[in-house]
Symmetry: C2
Subunit: 217 residues, 2 copies
């Protein structure tokens, strides 16, 4: 399927972050049976203002129908096609502790196209164990497996002090991008996209809302 | 400590969400030794534009120093004091599976003032087990424990099909707010703030960045 031409190849980083949230919210709306949504309601569901959403979506052409709103499925398809992410992504996880196991058991990733194919750990007691149908593989084999299995995304779920080493293995093996769940900063070359998953801002947001006496959702 | 007067008690929900991110980014900057930051650099670190940051922070008075930027510690202190969150929050976790255990072992919560005091589970094989120094308690005791231990925030880490029941227990017990890590929507009364933690938008954002051939961080 051809990639639709974008109004600009220079979509700001902040827009990309919001598009990821829009897609997630739109997919939830779809699963709840919503076919059409106004930009105001979509904005509210995404916790941004409606002029921001219209501006962000304008990178992908003219979408909204005046007086109607956005067609949910059409918008999902268009954003994904435009950005070229309407396909399966091969992922691996590094660190089969509690968080790693929780992610391996999480049904949502595969259904959204993120297929965790390999699980690495450096603990000899874990290597060879079968977790959710995957055999835990020694982290030293990262280089071979990344190329053999065409792995693109590396998910780091090690303890914080091992996150940098995990990132080094992944980068050396030619991984295309990294998601770091470990609570520590890591260095990777500039050409490797890196996302941090951090839980604490949800706690702050909730505390703010409790204190202000108003619903967060 | 007195609560500083806010320019407006009607801070928009989207601003609250961003303030939580600003606090998190500012605390990271502080831990890395940054004392002063320009609104442009802070905006970049938070993935928003600098006029948005200036507008959001204006709810708390005049902060930035022209030609200098923001003093990191002063800004953290002021936002937290203004919103009244510079204190310890008593939390409980419902669901001691892999994700629950990962959160109990996560050092960051306590250091940021979110103290997980009680761990609930409905599995008789888990009840009584000691996890990270906490005895797992039967979920049916939620009502007693929430009032006895002055629990304010409930963290749901059950399987998706049990999240609603966990929320019901927490709400009936008088919890003040809920963070839901289970991948399912839940209903709570309007006066109970609710935050969803969802991992998938990080995957979308990373995929977008990989496809656009540019660094996400």
């Amino acid at each position: 399927m051809g990639r639709k031409s974008l109004k600009s190849e220079h979509i700001p980083k902040a827009t990309i972050g919001r598009l990821a949230v829009y897609i997630q919210v739109l997919e939830r709306l779809k699963s709840e049976g919503t076919d059409v949504i106004s930009s105001e309601n979509l904005a509210q569901a995404c916790s941004v203002n409606s002029s921001q959403i219209r501006k962000d979506l304008a990178y992908f052409g003219e979408f909204g129908v005046r007086g109607v709103g956005y067609y949910v499925q059409e918008l999902i398809t268009s954003i994904k096609q435009s950005l070229g992410v309407d396909r399966i992504w091969n992922c691996c996880i590094v660190g089969v502790g509690n968080l790693g196991r929780a992610l391996l058991r999480h049904g949502e990733f595969k259904s959204k196209g993120f297929n965790i194919k390999v699980a690495f750990d450096c603990d000899p007691y874990k290597i060879g164990e079968i977790v959710e149908g995957l055999e835990v593989i020694c982290t030293r084999k990262t280089r071979n497996l990344v190329s053999e299995q065409k792995l693109e995304i590396g998910i780091i779920t090690t303890p914080p002090e091992r996150a940098q080493r995990a990132a080094n293995y992944l980068v050396e093996a030619g991984i295309k991008g990294i998601i770091n769940y470990a609570p520590s900063r890591i260095d990777v070359p500039d050409h490797i996209p890196l996302e941090y998953v951090d839980f604490i801002h949800h706690f702050y947001a909730l505390a703010f809302h409790i204190n202000l006496g108003r619903a967060a959702e």
